[in-house]
Symmetry: C2
């Protein structure tokens, strides 16, 4: 079984309250219950100290078994509806997908 990680970096608009952010995170997490190929969801606030975060404050990671699963996710009605309201609250967004690979010594 493979794994493909879907990482979204976000900066919320200044007028988005903590309560709204909490609700958006719950809504994001809830996609796992609606989109079959989405296998897991975790998130965290940026705590880096190198000052290379380019203003992004939140990291959202989800995992899929295939890149086709991510395509299914992107076009899934539950995701489309969530993404519309989520992206409208963001100042900045960046998304990368990758297949985590270890390096043999």
């Amino acid at each position: 079984m493979g794994e493909v990680k879907h990482i979204l970096l976000a900066k919320f608009k200044d007028d988005v309250s903590q309560e709204q952010i909490d609700l958006l995170i719950k809504g994001y997490a809830n996609l796992v219950n609606h989109v079959e190929p989405m296998k897991s969801f975790r998130w965290g606030k940026d705590v880096s100290v190198e000052n290379l975060h380019q203003g992004f404050t939140h990291v959202f990671e989800s995992s899929f078994e295939t890149t086709e699963g991510i395509a299914t996710y992107i076009s899934h009605p539950a995701h489309v509806e969530f993404a519309d309201s989520f992206l409208a609250q963001l100042d900045k967004v960046l998304v990368v997908d990758y297949k985590p690979t270890a390096v043999e010594p």
Copy 2:
């Protein structure tokens, strides 16, 4: 035991060859053998299709047990030496650290 993820997004300069990239990735992975608090390293090329990757082409993820461990890593001589040569080959770099948190339903 906690976990803190250290995610680096990179875009290599156009004149950096695939052989050089392979060597840099091995050098990055090899830091696990020199920096005690660095617990794991994986990487992957960006395969996203949403066109929100902002030009970043490679993702490097490492994990630590504490944010103090990341601070130790950043100032470790093996990392400083590697980072000097690695960063010189990059057009763009972005780093975020976060503690992955699940959302209770």
